[in-house]
């Protein structure tokens, strides 16, 4: 039952990443693209967690933890660059 649920959820998240990619390519403003990239990172975290459950190992959670930290820093850096024209002032 868990295997079937994992397959369904992985398909849902793959579709979600495709929808994010559509918004990333379409725009129309730079803020939309930042938001699409941020959502892609979050969906990647969910994918890694589900993959870890499927493989019955917690090794991949390190990668999910790093993505949770670095994705936020990337989003804030993009937004800061749009706001101020510079990241570290």
């Amino acid at each position: 039952m868990i295997d079937l649920a994992l397959m369904i959820a992985l398909a849902c998240i793959a579709l979600a990443v495709l929808l994010n990619l559509y918004r990333l390519l379409r725009g129309p403003t730079a803020s939309d693209r930042i938001l699409a990239l941020d959502t892609m990172v979050i969906n990647a975290i969910a994918l890694i967690i589900l993959f870890g459950i499927m493989e019955k190992t917690t090794v991949y959670f390190e990668a999910a933890l790093l993505l949770a930290m670095v994705g936020f820093v990337g989003t804030v850096a993009y937004a800061k660059f749009l706001l101020r024209g510079d990241i570290v002032e």
């Binding site: 039952m1 868990i2 079937l4 649920a5 994992l6 369904i8 959820a9 992985l10 398909a11 849902c12 998240i13 579709l15 979600a16 990443v17 929808l19 994010n20 559509y22 918004r23 129309p28 403003t29 730079a30 803020s31 939309d32 930042i34 938001l35 699409a36 941020d38 959502t39 979050i42 969906n43 975290i45 969910a46 967690i49 589900l50 870890g52 459950i53 019955k56 917690t58 959670f61 390190e62 999910a64 933890l65 949770a68 930290m69 936020f72 989003t75 804030v76 993009y78 937004a79 800061k80 749009l82 706001l83 101020r84």
Partner: protein, 137 residues
């Protein structure tokens, strides 16, 4: 007992995938950025949150060691998601100021500021209420 736990885990996993899909569907579908911000926040809190709860139940009940990674991921995501959304909204409002009267700006008006004479802050200085007194200082 194991069957009930398996059912709960499967339900949480499907719920997580469904919320991730709904969030991204909202991101692709909604008309302006301020409404598009709603979708991915649900994907963050509910979607990833239920996946993490599922894995927190799954690993101890299937004879594997418990790890604190899920709690740390939850902590980071729940702290950073509102800050990231706030930064994106600020960058959007600032971009509207910079780009002026383009078509995209006129089609999606912002909600009115809290009182007349105020403006949504990006990095502007609020107007001082009594300019004469400031000149005397």
């Amino acid at each position: 007992m194991t069957a009930i736990l398996d059912f709960i885990i499967a339900a949480l996993i499907i719920l997580g995938g469904a919320f991730a899909l709904i969030g991204s569907w909202g991101l692709a579908r909604l008309p302006s950025l301020m409404s598009r911000l709603h979708g991915p926040t649900k994907a963050t809190t509910l979607g990833v949150g239920s996946c993490l709860i599922a894995s927190m139940i799954y690993f101890p009940t299937h004879g594997l060691s418990w790890s604190a990674h899920e709690l740390l991921i939850t902590l980071f995501l729940f702290i950073t998601a509102p800050i990231a959304a706030n930064m994106i909204a600020k960058a959007y409002i600032h971009g509207r100021h910079v780009s002026g009267g383009r078509a995209e700006v006129n089609e999606n008006p912002l909600p009115p500021p809290p009182h007349s004479g105020a403006e949504w802050a990006t990095f502007g200085v609020p107007p001082s209420p009594k300019p004469d007194e400031r000149a005397q200082d």
